[in-house]
């Protein structure tokens, strides 16, 4: 394991996610159902290699590998995949593996192809509490859940389009049912909101002790994302935000959450360190 750099492991992981995405795409273009076994193998392999890469990176940065935009994207992809591997066999949603491979391949490849995202990393605050790491990791894991929610929301919209417009053949014939997708959307929205609430609660305890350590813009953006998801959940539970409107909301919120990562990252007050090539390459 130590003979390969963390980025090499992550490149291999990205290749496996990409292989899963290509497997699904080729099968869909041929109007066939992709092999569930092979999809699982590709995603599992990608997950294992990504875990190794992130573990190496974690060792190098002495903490959870979420110290720059590259790592944030990698960690979000890892979170979404780990969740998929847990819930995938339970819900057996057709095409969810394909969509997950698509999301993970995109996040990992983009982050690997933009070297500037990984050229610097934030130094760990000396003496900082491990709870801060936990807060950040939990928050990013909730982003992974919201990523998966965005995928199932896309699938929901595609299935509604298929049934309303009577485009039932080919790709559309493999989509899960409307009711199944609606159930999983509610569960993922609930799980994501609960995780993010827990993450922000932990962060809040730290913040009240050291108010200067967190920039206001970060609090504002993170709080807004959390509030938006919480409101969406409440409206869904009260039967106000439903069906297509809920699906669109979840997609838009996830895109906003991804963009917010960049803004939050650039607003950090912690010291910047130019990443030592020898450490990772």
């Amino acid at each position: 394991m130590s003979s390969l750099s963390d980025r090499t492991w992550l490149w291999i992981a990205a290749a496996f996610y990409l292989a899963g995405f290509l497997l699904g795409t080729v099968a869909l273009l041929r109007e066939r159902r992709h092999s569930r076994t092979w999809m699982y193998i590709f995603i599992w392999a990608g997950f294992v290699f990504q875990t190794c890469g992130l573990a190496l990176r974690g060792k190098a940065v002495h903490g959870c590998p979420i110290s720059n935009l590259f790592e944030l994207f990698q960690f979000t992809a890892w979170s979404a995949t780990s969740l998929y591997l847990v819930i995938g066999p339970t819900f057996r949603l057709s095409l969810l593996g394909y969509f997950n491979a698509c999301l993970s391949a995109t996040l990992t490849c983009v982050s690997l192809l933009v070297p500037v995202w990984d050229s610097i990393h934030r130094a760990r605050i000396p003496g900082s509490s491990p709870w801060i790491e936990f807060h950040a990791a939990l928050a990013l894991f909730s982003y992974g859940v919201f990523g998966l929610l965005a995928l199932t929301s896309i699938m929901y919209l595609l299935q509604v389009f298929s049934l309303k417009r009577q485009h039932l053949r080919g790709f559309f014939s493999f989509l899960p049912s409307i009711v199944d997708l609606d159930h999983i959307n509610l569960r993922l929205l609930t799980a994501g909101a609960v995780l993010m609430t827990a993450a922000l609660s932990v962060g809040y305890v730290h913040w009240v002790h050291d108010r200067d350590s967190v920039p206001a813009i970060k609090i504002l953006i993170t709080g807004s994302i959390w509030a938006a998801y919480a409101v969406a959940l409440i409206l869904r539970l009260r039967g106000i935000l439903l069906t297509k409107r809920l699906a669109w909301t979840c997609i838009v919120l996830f895109v906003a959450a991804l963009f917010s990562l960049g803004i939050i990252e650039s607003s950090r007050k912690t010291p910047i360190t130019v990443r030592a090539a020898a450490t990772h390459e």
């Binding site: 053949r169 409307i178 069906t243």
Partner: protein
């Protein structure tokens, strides 16, 4: 005693392709008749192995005979047993030997030869015919190999072509669409509005796919009760359906009413009570029972008879376009199987033909 001859693999019978239903009724072998006739066949000299496939669309014999005369003798015995004219049977029969017989069995088992192209029930019927032949000990090494490989190849064709994909009857298309909306149908609440034949057929299709809770509403309550009893469903007076519409996930409309029965206001009122749960409206009536404007409502999925028929036609066209490819696959398989049979291991020893 004549010279030793090679045994011949054959198929002989009649199917819906050449035989109208009135004649198929005469040729059909019921369970009792099947046993009686097979008893006769066990005494037919020169017939080494055989299996009989009798369905509503075909009666076919598959066997291994010492000579072509044995097959003719079998045909004569069958016609005599069924009180059917030899000459008439000759005009409708399907007869194939060796490779062609194998190809025919493979096509039958794969649903290529079925009235409903690509239907899968036939494979189960062929399996039953083989199991019955095994029970009678009327199959030997050749037919054992042929049937076992047939099941394998039929599955291969299903997996590697789209010959069985998509439903091709209106009722089954409706059920397929319902599964795209609700997934499992076991918990779905279904309302039949109208107690006509098409509604009955659709209800049965839903039941065959796991639907349990059916309610029938018809202007004639006695007719609704009659259909409800036949389906194991519940009947309600026709006037009650608007108030109870929100209880139902799937509504099958097939009334003979000359005007719209289910108005947009009824649907909107029902959906207000169940905004999170979709409703599937299947309008099989002519003139239509459901206001077409309902299709634009969120969480309402409305399909009329034309929509369903169009999907069924598209599915059939897709299946038909796969026939050539499926046949080519089966031809390769036939060739491989024929080589196995004629190889040393399975080739039955030639025995003198009966004199």
């Amino acid at each position: 005693m004549s010279e030793p001859m090679s045994p011949t693999l054959f198929t002989l019978g009649a199917s819906h392709h050449t035989t109208p239903i009135e004649l198929r009724e005469k040729l059909a072998l019921t369970a009792d008749k099947m046993n009686a006739f097979c008893d006769r066949l066990s005494h037919l000299a020169g017939l080494r192995e055989y299996a009989v496939l009798s369905t509503c669309n075909r009666v076919e014999f598959y066997g291994l005979a010492d000579t072509a005369e044995t097959v003719e003798q079998l045909q004569h015995e069958f016609c005599a047993f069924q009180g059917f004219s030899d000459a008439e049977f000759l005009s409708i029969r399907r007869h194939a030997l060796n490779r062609d017989a194998i190809q025919h069995l493979l096509e039958v088992s794969s649903g290529l030869n079925s009235q409903m192209l690509g239907e899968t029930e036939i494979l189960g019927q062929v399996k039953d015919a083989y199991a019955a032949a095994q029970m009678r000990h009327s199959v030997g090494p050749v037919l054992n190999r042929v049937f076992q490989k047939t099941f394998q190849y039929a599955k291969h064709v299903r997996t590697h072509t789209a010959i069985t994909e998509g439903q091709i009857s209106v009722a089954n298309v409706a059920v397929d669409l319902a599964t795209k909306i609700f997934g499992e149908l076991a918990k779905g609440q279904i309302l039949l509005l109208g107690a006509g034949e098409i509604g009955d057929k659709t209800a049965k299709a839903f039941q065959s796919r796991g639907a349990r809770s059916l309610t029938v509403a018809s202007r004639r309550l006695e007719r609704a009760s009659e259909l409800a009893n036949a389906l194991g469903a519940v009947a309600i007076p026709f006037e009650q359906w608007p108030a109870r519409l929100s209880d139902f996930d799937i509504v099958v409309c097939s009334t003979a009413a000359p005007e719209t029965v289910m108005k947009l206001a009824d649907i909107r009122a029902a959906m207000k009570k169940r905004p999170a749960r979709p409703m599937f409206l299947i309008d099989l009536a002519l003139p239509r029972d459901v206001d077409p404007a309902a299709a634009d409502e969120g969480n309402i999925f409305l399909y009329n008879l034309d929509d369903l028929a169009k999907i069924a036609e598209e599915n059939l066209a897709a299946r038909t376009s796969e026939v050539k490819r499926a046949r080519e696959i089966l031809q390769e398989k036939t060739e491989a199987l024929w080589k196995q049979i004629t190889g040393t291991r399975l080739a039955p020893p030639a025995k003198p033909a009966s004199t």
